[in-house]
C-alpha cells in the first residue's frame, strides 16, 4: 500500500473521511502527497459546508433571540426618550379613541315592541273588511248581467252593437 505508484481508491479515501479507518490506507496517505491532496480537497469542501451551516445557524439564533440588555440600556440611559415614547403612545391612544367608533362597546339596543293599536282603527278595519265581503257576495251588476248567462243569444250584442255602429258612422 505504501507503493507510491499505486494510489488509494475513492472508497479508501472516503473510508478515511468516514472514520472507517484502515491502517494501511492511513500509512499511504502520510507518504503519498497526491492522495493526501485529494483527501484534503474533499475534506475542505465538507469542512466549508459545516462551517457555513454553523455560522448561518448562529446568526439565525442570535437574530431570533430577545435582547434584554438593549432594552435595559434604552430605558435606563435615555429617560427623555422614554418620556417621549410614553407621550407618543398616549397621543396615539387618544387618536384611536377619537377615530374608532365605540359602537361595539355600547349595550345592545332594546328589542322594539310594536306600538299598541288604537281601538278605533281596529273597528274601522273590521268595517272595511265587512264592506268588501258584501261587495263580493252581491249580485252581478246590471252592466255585466249579459255575461253572467253565456247561453242567452241576445246577450252582449245588443249593448255593444249600437255603440259600434255609432263609431262607424263617425
Amino acid at each position: 500500500m505504501n507503493d507510491l505508484t499505486t494510489h488509494l481508491t475513492a472508497a479508501q479515501l472516503d473510508g478515511i473521511l468516514i472514520g472507517d479507518t484502515n491502517s494501511a490506507a492511513l500509512a499511504h496517505i502520510e507518504s503519498c502527497p497526491t492522495c493526501a491532496a485529494e483527501l484534503d480537497t474533499t475534506r475542505s469542501s465538507i469542512t466549508l459546508f459545516g462551517e457555513a451551516l454553523t455560522s448561518m445557524a448562529q446568526n439565525e439564533r442570535s437574530r431570533l433571540a430577545p435582547r434584554p440588555t438593549l432594552i435595559d440600556s434604552f430605558s435606563a440611559k435615555r429617560p427623555i426618550r422614554r418620556l417621549t415614547a410614553t407621550l407618543a403612545l398616549a397621543a396615539s391612544v387618544a387618536i384611536v379613541a377619537t377615530v374608532v367608533p365605540f359602537g361595539h362597546l355600547m349595550p345592545p339596543p332594546a328589542v322594539k315592541t310594536p306600538p299598541p293599536v288604537p281601538v278605533s282603527s281596529v273597528q274601522s278595519d273590521e268595517a272595511l273588511l265587512n264592506e268588501i265581503d258584501q261587495q263580493l257576495s252581491a249580485s252581478v251588476p246590471a252592466a255585466l248581467a249579459p255575461l253572467e248567462d253565456p247561453t242567452d243569444p241576445t246577450g252582449g250584442q245588443t249593448s255593444t252593437t249600437p255603440s259600434n255602429a255609432n263609431n262607424k258612422k263617425d
Binding site: 475513492a10 457555513a52 445557524a57
Partner: protein, 208 residues
C-alpha cells in the same frame, strides 16, 4: 456508616435521568444551536426549522419521564429531531410547499455565511463555488443518506454515536455514508473544467 448506606447516599445525590429535562431553559441553551443547525440543513427552510426546533424541545420535555439516561441528552434530542424531520418530509404537503416556500434556504444564502479564511478574492470565490456544489449535492441525497452525512460531517458524531442516534446498525450507517460521500464528490466535481479533470487524482478518474 456502612458501605451500603454510603452507596444509597451517592444514589440520592445523582439526579435521576428523568430530571435531566426539568430545567428546559438550560437544555435549550446547551443544545438549541446544534438541533437547529441539523434541522435547517435537513429541511432547508428557516420557518420550518424554527418550528421543528421548538417542537423537539417541547416533545423532550413532555416525555422527560421516559428518558432513562441510557444515552446522552444530545443523542436523545437528536433522535427526536430526526423523527420529526422524517414525519414532516414524508407528507405530500411538505413536498408541495417546499417548492413554493419563501423561507427556503438557497445555496447562495449559505455561501454568504462562509468564514473568511481565504487569502484572496479568487480563493474566496472558489470556496463559495465549492460550498454551493456541496449544498446542492446534499440536497440530492436520500433522507437517510442526508441524515447520516449531516451527523458525521456537520455534527461530527462518530459511527457508534450515529448508530445510536438513528437506530441503525453501524454497517448500515457506513453503507449510507459511503454512498453519500460518493454522490457528494461526484456532483461537486462534475462541473469542474476539463483542465481540472486532467489534474485529478488517478483513482477518482477511474471511478467515472
Amino acid at each position: 456508616m456502612t458501605s451500603k448506606s454510603l452507596t444509597a447516599e451517592r444514589e440520592l445525590a445523582i439526579p435521576a435521568p428523568s430530571r435531566t429535562f426539568e430545567d428546559l431553559d438550560a437544555m435549550v441553551a446547551l443544545y438549541e444551536l446544534r438541533i437547529f443547525r441539523f434541522l435547517i440543513a435537513s429541511v432547508r427552510d428557516h420557518d420550518l426549522a424554527q418550528t421543528l426546533t421548538q417542537e423537539t424541545f417541547f416533545r423532550a420535555w413532555s416525555a422527560r419521564e421516559s428518558f432513562r439516561g441510557d444515552c446522552a441528552p444530545a443523542t436523545w434530542l437528536m433522535r427526536i429531531a430526526i423523527n420529526l424531520v422524517r414525519d414532516h418530509t414524508r407528507t405530500g404537503r411538505f413536498k408541495f410547499w417546499k417548492k413554493a416556500s419563501a423561507s427556503a434556504v438557497e445555496a447562495s444564502e449559505v455561501a454568504d455565511h462562509l468564514p473568511h479564511h481565504a487569502s484572496s478574492a479568487e480563493s474566496a470565490l472558489i470556496a463559495r463555488q465549492q460550498l454551493e456544489l456541496v449544498w446542492q449535492a446534499v440536497a440530492q441525497l436520500s433522507d437517510r443518506q442526508r441524515t447520516v452525512f449531516l451527523l458525521r460531517f456537520v455534527e461530527e458524531l462518530d459511527l457508534p454515536e450515529i448508530a445510536a442516534t438513528t437506530g441503525m446498525p453501524i454497517s448500515t450507517v457506513k453503507s449510507h455514508l459511503y454512498r453519500a460521500l460518493e454522490t457528494v464528490r461526484k456532483r461537486s466535481t462534475n462541473k469542474q473544467s476539463p483542465k481540472q479533470f486532467k489534474d485529478k487524482h488517478p483513482s477518482e478518474r477511474s471511478t467515472r
